[in-house]
Amino acid sequence: MSERIRATAGWVAIGLAVLVPPYYLDEFWLRLGFSVAAAGVGAIGLTLLTGTAGQLSLAHAFFLGVGAVTYCVLAAPSDGDRVGLGLPTPVAAVAGAVLAGLAGLAFSPIAARLRHIYLGIASIALVLIGQHVLNVAAPLTGGFNGRRTPGLVGDTVTVIAQVPFGEYEKLWYIGGTALVLAAAFARNLVAGRVGRALILVRDSEPAAAAVGIPVQSYKALAFVLSSMYAGLAGVLYAVAIGSVAPQSFALDVSVLYLVMIVIGGLGSVGGAIAGAAVVTALPVLLQEYAADLPFLAEPGSGGITASHAARYAFGIAVIAVVLVRARGLNGLRLRQTPPGSIHEPSPPPARRRGDHRRHPERVQRESQHTELRPDR
């Protein structure tokens, strides 16, 4: 099949996957789909930063929180003790993404200077400071108990082809559209000039600097982009769960986003979406079908509940993925080239601790080997 036909077929499939389900699925699945889309947008943002640019960040929950709170403050009607501007919801949603990006920009002087692991830890700081602000700034955030999220669409019902389109059908379309746009933008970015620069920054900063890539600016760019994705994801997430409270943006959430992109394959946009689907849907589905699963206990009984089972699965999946892939492909370079790219694999990374055990040629051969996939 030629490249063009395949691409067209892909778009048709995506279009059908977004358009058709509301005609057949009920509210439970539509809500779940919307949650998956929200998480997918956020996971794409994190995979750009951690997978493509190689910056480990645990600050994602913070930027989700910035987006969500901004949306609430702008879209909610003003009442007694909560600030609300009552702006149209699309404006508020876009503003949520923009403000999260600005927050990322404000942190990027720190983010761009720190390497790998230092950034990972410094980014935890943002989440905990964010938790504190969420708890304290009650007029904006509702404090410990949080505040209700204004709905993204009204609850008017439109009937098309004898199928009533209510809030959840509309949210499905909004989530689906946002996810497709976010994924398309990320794929183009990664396959293009910026993506190649980011990958070189990840693999070797000195090499990147030597070919004239402004390393600090590109790291800052990745950070800002990723936080904008997180901001948009935060808006959708807040709409999906219906309220904004500190515990919805705790460190745990950052960790789950990391789980999504790791089990999906770091740096892969499609993988990020798949990871988001698994991580979001697994606890919900286990809960839904808990009665049919003999190994699951009721919450509060001290046994293994659906959420415990899901978390064990996530933890084990992360360990397994890292363990299996790190052995063959030397660490984070889980993907040699961005998906869809026709370019040569990037050069082997600078010698790291312990690299003497691997002959450079062998590493090179292994990485070429991964290119020989049947679908290329």
């Binding site: 790998h116 905990l128 990147a208 890292v322 370079r333």
Partner: protein, 296 residues
């Protein structure tokens, strides 16, 4: 004045516990290049074993059991998971420990449930009076034990064969291996020691003035991370100084929270992180850390 003195004393004692946890982070980072995000879970695991066994075997034996469990868990993680991927990038190793933390943390918090488990410290909630200042005895003992352990480590680094091997392996694993240092053994030892150290810290953390052991105690490892970072991840002195800075800063913010009311209640919890960001802005590798070569 009395108030300031009491705040600083409390801060120093908390800080010494943070320093113990931070020392574990530094040991692992130096020897194996791992930032261990499962540290909090190891701490919790050992303290949990102590909490479950002290009634039957007595407190000293329970402490020994807890510390051994922590050390053993470190050994298991190293042998089963960290060693097979020792060539991987530090970030991949860190992600692996996050996976361990998810599994272990979930299991422990499931077992503990919402209850607070008491550890049965023989000194209980007694307080030591120094003039007009009262400090919980638990914290005074913690300060003493932490000082002893840290001093022992600093001496061992300098004067024992193990310490020299450790420093050599941290400096340049390749050269160390060439002159006969068994790098793998050094790495294993540091996992074991880090696990044990975390549990010692955990046992003191679950004592007065904290009511007992709950999953929240594991979060303390997250507060010791800034301590390790602001001191410099590859510096033992840094861990000590960082721990004390974080402890005192936190205690000052908690002690003067009425004066700091503009920042809202409970700002003590975020102070370690604000201090860390301030330090990192000026020195990206921490106060005592070595600057990475090849900066661009």
């Amino acid at each position: 004045m009395t108030r300031l003195l009491s705040i600083v004393l409390t801060g120093l004692s908390t800080g010494s516990i943070y320093a113990l946890v931070a020392l574990g982070f530094v040991l692992l980072y130096k020897a194996a290049g791992v930032v261990n995000f499962a540290h909090g879970s190891l701490l919790l695991l050992g303290a949990y074993v102590t909490a479950r066994t002290w009634e039957t075997v007595g407190f000293p034996a329970a402490v020994a059991l807890g510390v051994l469990t922590g050390a053993g868990a470190g050994l298991v993680v190293q042998r089963l998971l960290a060693d097979p991927m020792r060539d991987a990038a530090p970030v991949a190793l860190a992600i692996m420990t996050i996976g361990v933390d998810i599994v272990l943390g979930t299991e422990l918090s499931r077992r503990m449930g919402p209850d607070i488990v008491v550890l049965g410290h023989p000194w209980g909630g007694a307080a030591v009076r120094l003039g007009e200042v009262a400090v919980p005895a638990n914290r005074v003992i913690a300060l003493g034990v932490a000082a002893l352990i840290i001093a022992a480590f600093l001496l061992a680094f300098r004067f024992t064969g193990w310490g020299v091997a450790m420093r050599a392996a941290a400096e340049d694993p390749e050269a160390a291996a060439l002159v006969g240092v068994r790098v793998r053994r050094v790495v294993t030892t540091s996992w074991v020691l880090a696990g044990g150290l975390a549990v010692v810290a955990g046992i003191f953390l679950a004592g007065s003035p904290t009511p007992g052991l709950s999953p929240a105690v594991g979060l303390v490892a997250l507060r010791a991370l800034p301590a390790a970072i602001l001191g410099g991840l590859d510096s033992t002195t840094g861990a000590l100084v960082g721990g004390l800075i974080v402890g005192v800063a936190e205690s000052l913010a908690a002690g003067y929270q009425d004066e700091l009311a503009v920042f809202g209640r409970g700002s003590g919890e975020v102070v370690p992180y604000i201090v860390m960001i301030a330090v990192l802005l000026v020195r990206p590798a921490g106060l005592f850390g070595t600057r990475a070569a090849g900066r661009v």
